[in-house]
């Protein structure tokens, strides 16, 4: 986590890293944006680059007013759920009422738990943190 924060500080609160997925042909990348101190402006997503689809497949962000996938009005943090028929995660949102991070570290930890991303601190200080899917 320390290395992630260090990298984010160097990039003005942003992070882009490749996620290791053994045997996968395409590439998955995680993007985190926490430029300001306000949790309302924090967001993270998983982007897939492959022959079949290029774009966001999962996301956690904050909106003051949004419509959930079952038509209800929601507010606050929510997750975008992949719809394989539409090949998109833009409209399928579910509210995350328990997701209330008070720090960037908490936001990253809780977000990684939801995404199923494991952070591996590997090797010497010269190695970058490795991230992979469960």
């Amino acid at each position: 986590m320390g290395q992630i924060r260090e990298a984010m500080d160097a990039e003005d609160g942003s992070l882009r890293r490749v996620l290791r997925v053994p045997g996968m042909r395409g590439q998955l990348r995680i993007v985190i944006k926490c430029r300001s101190n306000s949790p309302m402006c924090w967001s993270m997503s998983v982007i897939l680059y492959s022959n079949r689809f290029d774009g966001r497949i999962d996301c956690i962000d904050w909106e003051h007013l949004f419509v959930t996938m079952d038509g209800a009005r929601g507010t606050g943090f929510h997750r975008h759920i992949w719809n394989h028929q539409e090949m998109s995660c833009e409209k399928n949102k579910i509210a995350l009422p328990q997701f209330m991070p008070t720090s960037v570290e908490e936001f990253i930890r809780q977000g990684f738990d939801l995404f199923g991303v494991i952070l591996q601190e590997e090797g010497s200080a010269n190695d970058r943190s490795q991230m992979r899917f469960r």
């Binding site: 430029r35 306000s38 967001s43 996301c59 909106e63 003051h64």
Partner: protein
């Protein structure tokens, strides 16, 4: 021909605008949701904060840029310039990836709409966009070319951290000579991101901080300028001044290995 019933259209429109407009206190900020639909299906949020005196700061919290980046869009200098021009048209500013303005109380409503419009219009960048997947492969491709060049003459290490006089720095690759006749070559693969000048300045600080260092001062510092066509001329000029060698890598699918090797030969000469 059916006569349009203006009253019912107006009522229906007013109801829609009312249902999609919300203003409430969240934490220390007042957040206004405007009935401006974005191309990715959101409604635009605008933040209103008080400052010292009777001024209000109105901004979009960088949410438009966050959304673009989170969907895989690469914010180039030309996109930044476009946002800058867009903000100026609405008499606000675009700074630190945020549409914002500072106004007196009687100007707040106009400012909210201006920031909201800019934040919403910025999302039009998503139309026809293809996420840029080249950044990581550029580093990997350069690594392959570097190892091909080094072979038995150099030992190449990835992600090498060094301590300068003022700060700790990282090089993507360092090629250590197997004989003492040639210098060590340290390389950073630099991506322009949303601000290529900032990337050049960070490299400049690294080079300057290591210049008088006993251990690292003699290393040749090579700046690998990824997506070189996206760099501003000011940033390119700065890199040329502070690096011992600049290797430009245009945004092409195939890396020109021969050209890279020739540049590395010059750097290690």
């Amino acid at each position: 021909m059916t006569v349009v019933k203006c009253d019912s259209v107006r009522d229906s429109l007013m109801n829609y605008i009312a249902s999609t407009t919300a203003v409430s206190q969240v934490g220390d900020s007042c957040v206004a949701t405007l009935p401006i639909p974005t191309v990715d299906g959101r409604l635009v949020d605008v933040f209103i904060e008080t400052t010292l005196g009777d001024y209000f700061v109105i901004h979009d919290g960088g949410k438009a840029i966050n959304e673009l980046i989170l969907q895989g869009l690469n914010i180039t200098d030309s996109i930044t310039q476009h946002f800058d021009a867009l903000a100026r048209r609405f008499t606000i500013s675009y700074t630190d990836e945020t549409f914002k303005t500072s106004v007196r109380p009687n100007e707040v409503k106009n400012a909210i709409l201006a920031v909201g419009m800019c934040s919403g219009l910025a999302m039009a960048q998503l139309i026809g966009q293809i996420p840029v997947s080249t950044e990581e492969p550029i580093r990997d491709q350069f690594g392959h070319a570097l190892r091909g060049w080094a072979r038995k003459r150099f030992k190449v290490n990835d992600n090498v951290t060094v301590r300068g006089d003022y700060a700790q720095h990282r090089f993507d690759f360092v090629a250590y000579p197997r004989t003492s006749k040639v210098p060590t070559v340290a390389m950073s693969v630099l991506l322009p991101g949303s601000n290529s000048l900032a990337a050049a300045e960070r490299f400049g600080f690294k080079a300057a901080d290591l210049r008088s260092n006993k251990k690292y001062g003699s290393w040749r510092k090579v700046a690998v300028q990824a997506r070189s066509e996206s760099w501003s001329s000011e940033a390119k000029a700065l890199l040329q001044r502070c690096a011992d060698m600049v290797i430009e890598l245009p945004d092409e699918s195939k890396l020109d290995k021969q050209s890279v090797k020739e540049k590395l030969d010059l750097a290690a000469a």
